[in-house]
């Protein structure tokens, strides 16, 4: 990375934040309120259905991780189109435009990680240092998945202009496919494999395991997640490298 890229990255992150939240902290609070409001609504409805005492904690972890996934993929997909004015203006490293586009979602996720850590420390069962480290690693895997997805879809979106609508539908279905409002336990064990194919599922389930239940996913489970994230990033990079050189022609 050239030194001048650092200035570009910082400017993109700063102006994205400013344009999205009108440059105010109050604006940013709205970003946190969205999953929180969802939490309140879902909790008041579903905690009757699932009387498990850890349901609330599971729900909020699932919602915030999902919110990052949904926001990140949505903005990542349209990143090159939205920043097309920079692509046609000068020779611009287009991968930076894609990677920085998820910065707003990443900031929200980071704030959530802080809040959830503080909350868990304040409760009776503070998580071990190892659990927090693992949780951060899972967040890292989630970011990797979102970056890989964004790299691939941002260049494809320039060629297929309804890809965002297709993804909206998939993403909406995906919210119910991931075990966010329901515990995965209500699904017969033999179908779990299929649920784990949807990338947010292992990340949400593993995070809950270490933070809420104090259990540790197996090594095989960790290996699966690592391979999953690596494959998505690799596929995204390959597609991006193939199509990005001509991106400016499609903006």
């Amino acid at each position: 990375m050239k030194p001048s890229h650092a200035g570009l990255i910082w400017t993109l992150v700063r102006t994205d934040f400013k344009a999205r939240y009108h440059g105010t902290i109050e604006g940013f609070v709205w970003a946190l309120l969205k999953p929180l409001a969802m939490f309140v609504v879902l909790m008041s409805v579903f905690s009757f259905l699932f009387p498990d005492p850890t349901y609330k904690l599971n729900l909020i972890i699932g919602l915030f991780l999902w919110d990052f996934f949904a926001e990140g993929t949505k903005t990542g997909l349209t990143a090159l189109q939205a920043k097309g004015f920079l692509l046609t203006k000068a020779r611009c490293p287009s991968w930076i435009l894609v990677v920085t586009s998820i910065s707003n979602a990443l900031i929200t996720l980071a704030v959530f990680v802080g809040i959830i850590s503080a909350f868990l420390l304040a409760t009776h069962h503070p998580p071990s240092l190892e659990a927090v480290a693992l949780f951060l690693a899972y967040c890292g895997a989630l970011v990797t998945v979102v970056v890989g997805f964004s790299l691939a879809t941002s260049v494809l979106f320039l060629r297929y202009r309804d890809l965002n609508q297709v993804w909206d539908v998939v993403s909406q279905a995906g919210f119910f496919l991931a075990p966010i409002i329901f515990p995965l336990g209500i699904i017969p064990e033999r179908y779990h494999f299929y649920f784990y194919l949807w990338p947010p599922t292992p990340i949400i389930e593993f995070s809950r395991a270490v933070l809420v239940h104090g259990t540790m996913p197996t090594r095989t489970a960790h290996a699966y997640l690592a391979v999953d994230a690596a494959v998505i990033l690799l596929a995204g990079t390959v597609i991006f490298r193939g199509l990005a050189p001509r991106a400016a022609e499609y903006v």
């Binding site: 030194p3 001048s4 200035g7 570009l8 910082w10 400017t11 993109l12 700063r14 102006t15 400013k18 344009a19 004015f85 920079l86 692509l87 046609t88 203006k89 000068a90 020779r91 611009c92 060629r159 297929y160 202009r161 309804d162 890809l163 297709v166 050189p245 001509r246 400016a248 022609e249």
Partner: protein, 256 residues
């Protein structure tokens, strides 16, 4: 002689124009069994040129002769189909004026964005912000979002940033086509100063007077090929000849 700053070697570029334009998944799926015809539009055909240190190269040609595509390839925005472009210097383009801003951000943030894309460091941008805004006569509108700007205002801002960002090679599409006489004069002054500092320039223009005044050497593009190259004054005359010639042609054909 030192290696040229920019060498374009046998560059060709064609665009495929489909008979029916499909740019959604839906259209591709529903059109799966309806084959499309593609028309090949050869925009550039084996173009070779060189730009040396301190040189000013003018490019002329009629609409659709491939001038803008050539500039975009030189700047690395488009990729050539065949041929090579070797760039040994920092190239600062001013293309497609009036577009290319984030309308939701004010002038200062947009200058930061475009400036850092053009290779300025944040410290350099901060230092020269006042100068850039003064050059564009936009000090009073520094905190106004670009969506409220007129096209003239945003074009002036584009020039101001690029003139500040240029280091070695400046690439201009339709130079000095914006602003009033005062702004144009400031542009010309800045341009002369850059030339005096040893900057190289590539200029595309339809204005023979401008090419004649500002360029040492020029090329005339016609149908994606270099029809003529040489002294800028001679090329400017050739360009006018090309225009009148084709005008005569059309006149004759309408008579027949």
């Amino acid at each position: 002689m030192a290696a040229p700053l920019i060498s374009v070697d046998g560059v060709s570029k064609a665009f495929r124009i489909p008979s029916v334009h499909r740019d959604t998944v839906r259209e591709h799926v529903f059109g799966l069994f309806e084959p499309r015809r593609f028309e090949r539009l050869q925009v550039l055909d084996r173009i070779s040129l060189e730009l040396h240190q301190g040189e000013t190269l003018g490019i002329m040609g009629r609409n659709g002769s491939g001038k803008s595509t050539l500039l975009k390839i030189i700047c690395g925005i488009y990729q050539p189909d065949t041929g090579r472009v070797t760039v040994r210097a920092a190239v600062t383009p001013i293309l497609e004026l009036g577009v290319g801003w984030n309308p939701e951000l004010d002038a200062i943030d947009n200058v930061f964005l475009i400036g850092s894309v053009m290779g300025l460091s944040l410290a350099e941008i901060r230092r020269s912000m006042d100068e850039i805004l003064a050059f564009a006569e936009l000090e009073r509108f520094a905190n106004l979002k670009l969506k409220h700007y007129s096209s003239g205002m945003s074009s002036r801002l584009a020039y101001a940033v690029a003139f500040r960002a240029v280091r070695e090679v400046l690439v201009l599409d339709e130079v000095f086509a914006v602003g009033d006489a005062g702004f144009r004069q400031r542009c010309e002054e800045r341009y002369r100063a850059l030339r005096a500092e040893g900057c190289s320039v590539v200029v595309v223009s339809h204005d023979p007077r401008l090419i004649d005044t500002f360029c040492d050497r020029a090329i005339l593009l016609d149908g994606g090929r270099i029809a003529r190259q040489g002294q800028s004054s001679a090329i400017a005359d050739d360009y006018l000849g090309l225009l009148t010639h084709s005008l005569n042609d059309t006149r004759q054909s309408t008579q027949v």
